[in-house]
Amino acid sequence: MEKELRLMKGNEAVAEAAIRAGADGYFGYPITPQSEILEYLMEANPEETTGMIVLQAESEVAAINMVYGGAGCGKKVLTSSSSPGISLKQEGISYIAGAELPCLIVNVVRGGPGLGTIQPAQSDYFQSVKGGGHGDYKMIVLAPASVQEMADFVDLGFELAFKYRTPVMMLSDGAIGQMMEKVYLSPQKKRMTTFPDWATTGKKATRPRNIITSLDLESNGQEIFIQKLQDKYNLIKEQEVRYQEFQTEDAEYLLVAYGTSARVCQKSVQIARAQGLRVGLLRPITLFPFPSKRINELADHLKGILSVEMSAGQMVEDVLLSVNGKVPVRHYGRNGGIITTPEEVVENLKSIFIEA
């Protein structure tokens, strides 16, 4: 079927894509800059068309636990929030990871810590990829860089979440959430009618009880479970790394950036090339798993890497680990809701690596 073309905000694209992906439920609580997700879903009222439940919970904590419950029943469920709200959800996310349940969590990042600012930032990288909640868990983290990807990654997120029985986070930011671009929407999918065999859908006499829990008081059992989780994460690292490269073939300097910063850096590459500098860009699409292997390969032919992020320097640590000292790696970023301009990136690349 032909895809439908619309002009939409990133937040609206997430909402519409969730309906079309055949989601069973959305549970959320409003916060700038992502409130359009809840607003759009409320207005669309998909309960009358697909049967998808949309509910404004009493808090973020309630919303993530509704997701936990829905996911335990094998349903396709999602929630969304922005940074302070995502912090509130961390306990639930840890439980969902511990219970090995699939779900999609969308973080439209704003500046922090604390209430910070409502303007875009990328300062939740550590929280997302290093485990914001307690315990030895990981989430698959997808970083959209366009409104189209905010739509596409809903479907992809659910697919990966169910494939690996793991929470998936879409790590966006206020800029992509608020920005409008063209988006091609997938046709409506039907909601699932059959559920995974682990789901708590009502016990039949023919099978043993399904138990959803993250608790095991017996240490040996818990250790075996944690090892099983790590095996799963290692499999994800082998199979699910996604990234995009721009003009890396002959690059002497590499920019590494995701999301909004990657869009900015694409233009920085054009500006730098026009000045005769051989600059390329690697855009991680998955932040966990991180494209470490590819960055390490590229480092063999580079003079330096600049990690560009709207933070004080978080992803740069994973870039450093990836290249393992092969080439100098530096960070450049703005904070507080300020988005770096393409020219600024080029100026900093030059002052750090070339003029120094």
């Binding site: 002009l7 800059p33 671009e181 063209k182 233009k267």
Partner: protein, 184 residues
């Protein structure tokens, strides 16, 4: 062809919706577009602005430092964005409420007195469409017929009766826009 545009004025002047209609119109012509608003506390009584990029190619950064065209609708925005126009670029402004006029000599300046024109047409709400009419006259990137198609696509059905009025406003803007200064 890539046109990087900033539209800036007071919240409530229809800055964001003008940008949206511009973007929709370009989509009707199969162009690539991005619409990047300022959002948040700025909207309450302060200035509102939106960056619109129209292009034949896929758009890299939706955030830019310099603009081909600035559409300026109040003094604060003129003060803030006059220096951000590329040399040889275009400034379109409504002189209503402006006390310090543009000073740069390396840009082409147009005046579109849309506030007055809207009052004369007995509908202040069409102010932004008069300005947009001026823009499509001096920067013929999007065609009037596609603006109308864009309006049909972006407005809810119940408001389609307002389209003829909007078309008049666009045409009025095309008529009244005046070149004040040509770039040196």
């Amino acid at each position: 062809m890539t046109e990087e545009i900033i539209i800036a004025g007071f919240g409530g002047q229809g800055v964001l919706s003008m940008g949206k209609i511009m973007a929709y119109s370009a989509v009707m012509q199969d162009m690539e577009v991005s619409w990047m608003p300022s959002y948040g506390p700025e909207m309450r009584g302060g200035t509102a602005n939106v960056t619109v990029i129209l292009s034949d190619e896929s758009i890299s950064s939706p955030i830019v430092r310099h603009f081909d065209t600035a559409i300026i609708l109040n003094q604060q925005s003129l003060d803030k964005f006059e220096s951000s126009i590329k040399p040889g670029g275009v400034l379109i402004y409504d002189t209503n409420g402006i006390t310090r006029h543009p000073e740069r000599k390396d840009i082409t300046v147009y005046r579109v007195n849309a506030t007055d024109a809207a009052v004369k047409m007995n509908n202040v709400k069409i102010f932004n469409m008069i300005v947009l009419g001026g823009f499509i006259k001096v920067k013929p990137i999007i065609k009037l017929e596609n603006v109308i198609r864009g309006l049909k696509k972006s407005l809810p059905e119940r408001n389609h009766s307002l389209i003829p009025l909007n078309e008049k406003a666009l045409i009025r803007g095309e008529e009244i826009i005046t070149e004040v200064q040509r770039a040196e």
